[in-house]
Amino acid sequence: MGALTGWLDEFAWGAFLILRVFLVAAAFTLVFGVVGAAARLSGGVWARLAGVYVTVFRGTPELLVLLLFYFGGAVTLTALARLADPGAGFVDIPPFWAGALAIALIAGAYATETFRGAFLGVAPGQIEAARALGLAPWAILLFVRLPQAWRIALPSLGNHLIGLMKDTALVSVIGLNEIMFTAKMATSVTGQPFTMFAAVAVIYLAFTTALSAALAAAERRARRHLAR
């Protein structure tokens, strides 16, 4: 344990980086989920495309998606750069963005299904009642449909966000210098790999536990007007 003390600031920085990846990816997850659900509900070609998106990103290993994004992005960017300037060197996507986007696309595929189900899960009587009260379609969507869909979606969206938090560990594989990197570096200096990787595990456990507590609070808040 004593070996840890010299590395606490590095671990703190790595943990901060993990949080940043998570927050950026969570924002994209919501966007992908909403767009995906809208596409699935719209019918036609868009619905089928969104269906393929969901199937592919839910059935492929997260690591593979990340590798595809990172190395694929590099090949594409390099090709584009050489179109502009034939002498251009190798260009790659910053691992932060390749990683955040890749794990957000995966969580977004799960969120697509969650949001679609939640949108359809709002009781039809609610919509009818709103229409009977003379609410405009946009007002029905904004004040009746979305708040209730949000309540239905929260528990399973929460699970996907916890999954997303754990997926941030994968970003180390494509070279982002976060806590996994810190642990490797600290191991090579101190020769105590178990201590260092256990520290990473403890950091993640703290993050996922805090996130579950926050999600439980959000669920209570979404249900606060309901009699229990």
Binding site: R58, G59, P61, D167, G191, F197, Y204, T208
Partner: protein, 227 residues
């Protein structure tokens, strides 16, 4: 930059060689997970805090941390302990394959225990009560009444766990194993064709996930309530 189907055609047979290792990892880890889940579920359902708390801590720790971190704790971490390196277990624990199986089994065991706990709790109490009224012993109530119904409830979430394990097995490539993802990384480095190679690998994983979903759906169908 185009999409070179010749590279796909060349990669697929090599990726298929990695398939055997992927399947071995999945099978061994799911089996290991089931072995751990049995006693863990039993402990989760005990009234005694001394049995329940450690089981809860295990489920919490392994569901709350990334599988990659669990794998690294075992693969890189265990070497820290001199005494462990002197035991005969070290011959097994220094093999990346067995490190993966151990890490993935512990991971799967936590999820499976939680699935089984939920399923057993989901069987209505009246079923056990009725069986008790018929004079069945506690062991037979569990074996003949509660367990078959719990199994039915557990199948859909267990299907998700199997698909999850297929995806988790890809992490083995980070500890040098040449399973599908590991082979794909090697080919991608040789050919500089990441799209062709990684998409080919993705197709194999999708086929595996599809097959697993079909198998679980078939098992569910066999155990569905008589209509």
């Amino acid at each position: 930059m185009g999409f070179d189907l010749a590279i796909v055609a060349e990669s697929l047979p090599r990726l298929a060689e990695g398939l055997a290792l992927t399947l071995a990892l999945i099978a061994a880890s799911l089996a290991g997970g089931a072995l751990i889940a049995g006693p863990a579920t039993w402990a989760l359902l005990r009234p005694s805090r001394w049995l329940r708390s450690p089981a809860r801590a295990y489920v919490w720790a392994f569901r709350g941390t990334p599988a990659l971190v669990q794998l690294f704790v075992i693969y890189y971490g265990l070497a820290q302990f001199e005494w462990l390196r002197e035991t005969s277990a070290w011959a097994v624990l220094r093999e990346p394959f067995w490190c993966c199986v151990l890490a993935f089994s512990l991971n799967s065991g936590a999820y499976t225990a939680e699935i089984l706990r939920g399923a057993i709790a989901g069987v209505s109490d009246e079923q056990a009560e009725a069986a008790r009224a018929l004079g069945l012993s506690r062991g037979r109530i569990f074996r003949l009444v509660v367990w078959p119904q719990a199994l039915r409830l557990a199948l859909p979430p267990y299907g998700n766990e199997v698909v999850g394990m297929i995806k988790t097995s890809a992490l083995a490539s980070t500890v040098t194993l040449a399973e599908i993802t590991g082979v794909a990384e090697t080919i991608a480095a040789e050919t500089f064709a990441p799209y062709e190679v990684f998409l080919s690998a993705a197709i194999i994983y999708l086929a595996l996930a599809w097959a697993a979903e079909r198998a679980v759906a078939a098992a569910e169908h066999r155990r569905s309530w008589p209509q």
